[in-house]
Amino acid sequence: MEDIKSYIESGILELYVVGDVTPGEKLQVEEMASKHPVIKAELEEIERSMELFAAVNAVEPPAQLRDRVLNSLLTNFSDDNNFPTKHPQPVKDNVIAMPAPKANNFYKYAFAACLALLIASVVTLFSVYNKLQDANTQLVALNSSNQKFSTTVRFMDRQLSIYRDTSFKVIRLKGTANLPKGLALVAFSPAKNKVVIDLADLNMPVNDKAHQYQLWAIVGKTPVSLGVFDKTDADSTVMKEMKSVEFANAFAVTREPRGGSINPTMSEMMVVGTL
């Protein structure tokens, strides 16, 4: 009993009530109080005194604080685990959070649409461009074939006009020993003084760059140069008009140095034909 009395008088209970004890002392006081009703009663007395003392010294907080505090408690009524213990939102806060701006999807979709349109346009443009290229190529081919065709037509027209012209005589110049299978067609119109060689039906080897063929008209015994011509690889569709001559007994073709010779090189005679 003495122990309890001195424990009470030590002042530890008062310190306990004002919260000025270590955790160890706190446990000890609580244990003593639960064991000894005297101590519990003493504690109760001290607590009541201090509570009254606090009531005597009470200060009324501002009226508006009541709503603020109650709101901060009741707002979290259903979820009191999420108390903003550090900085509770003051009710008097006049900063009002603006509602989150409603997401405007229009520009997003418009942008996507534009992009899709752009891609589609590029694809279309590309394919159209390709088609145009094809068409162009075809057109060029067509053009060239058309040109070729018209050249052919012109040639044939000319060939026909010459062959149908009764004033023209067609002389077949046949191969000599130099060119047994050689053949050349020469149309001669004494009336019109015209000599035309048909390069399309020329059956002679392609001449090299150093040489050319030269057409001669044999007038009496004298060879008269009627000009040079070439035999090319490509199909020639030309009725080549040579120099004019009034009269000829025969026509002959010799192979001469490029540009032709004044007198025919007899050893190089390829074809010859008499009227």
């Binding site: 005194s49 003392f53 009531a55 010294n57 907080p61």
Partner: protein, 183 residues
């Protein structure tokens, strides 16, 4: 200004209602104890705005940790006032608050019962107020330091330059004196 009638419950009723998380319990709690708690807080922290914040934090903490309160450990007010005092002292000693209020801790010479304050008028306390005035100066001083300034008895002994034992005795004597009057 029309005075709203305050809600008051018995302590047992209040504890029960708080455990059930009833809305009326929160209101009753505030009406019954806010002024007593604010009396303690506002004497520790003189800045009104900060003191109001601490009062709010106190109620939040009481509400939040109410499950840890047990009637066997003592009266509800004792538990609550210790929460309030601890929060106030924490705030007072927090770095940013110290920087703002460098002179705070020097102001220990405020009058014990501050007549300028908006003290509560309670008829049942009329006589007691006068009786508190009969406390001896050294008893008032120790109560002021420990109860309203948040000093530990060790700090109080240091502050007043008297032995620890004397502090404890003086505190006990002061409370004994109050008990005489209050009972």
């Amino acid at each position: 200004m029309s005075k709203r009638s305050k809600i008051s419950l018995s302590e047992d009723e209040l504890v029960l209602a708080l455990r059930r998380h009833e809305k009326i319990a929160v209101e009753a709690l505030y009406d019954m104890y806010s002024s007593s708690l604010y009396g303690v807080i506002s004497r520790i922290i003189t800045d009104t705005a900060v003191a109001e914040d601490v009062l709010q934090e106190t109620f939040v903490k009481i509400w939040h940790s109410f499950a840890s309160y047990s009637t066997e450990k003592g009266r509800l007010f004792t538990w609550m006032v210790n929460i309030a005092r601890n929060l106030a002292i924490d705030k007072l000693r927090s770095k940013d608050f110290k920087n703002q209020n460098k002179n705070q801790e020097l102001e220990i010479n405020v009058t014990f019962i501050d007549e300028q304050r908006n003290t509560v008028y309670k008829p049942e306390l009329l006589g007691i107020k006068d009786l508190v005035q009969t406390l001896k100066a050294d008893q008032k001083e120790i109560l002021e330091l420990v109860y309203f300034k948040g000093y530990t008895h060790v700090e109080a002994a240091d502050e007043l330059g008297i032995p620890l034992g004397t502090i404890k005795t003086r505190l006990r004597m002061a409370i004994q004196q109050l008990r005489k009057h209050f009972n």
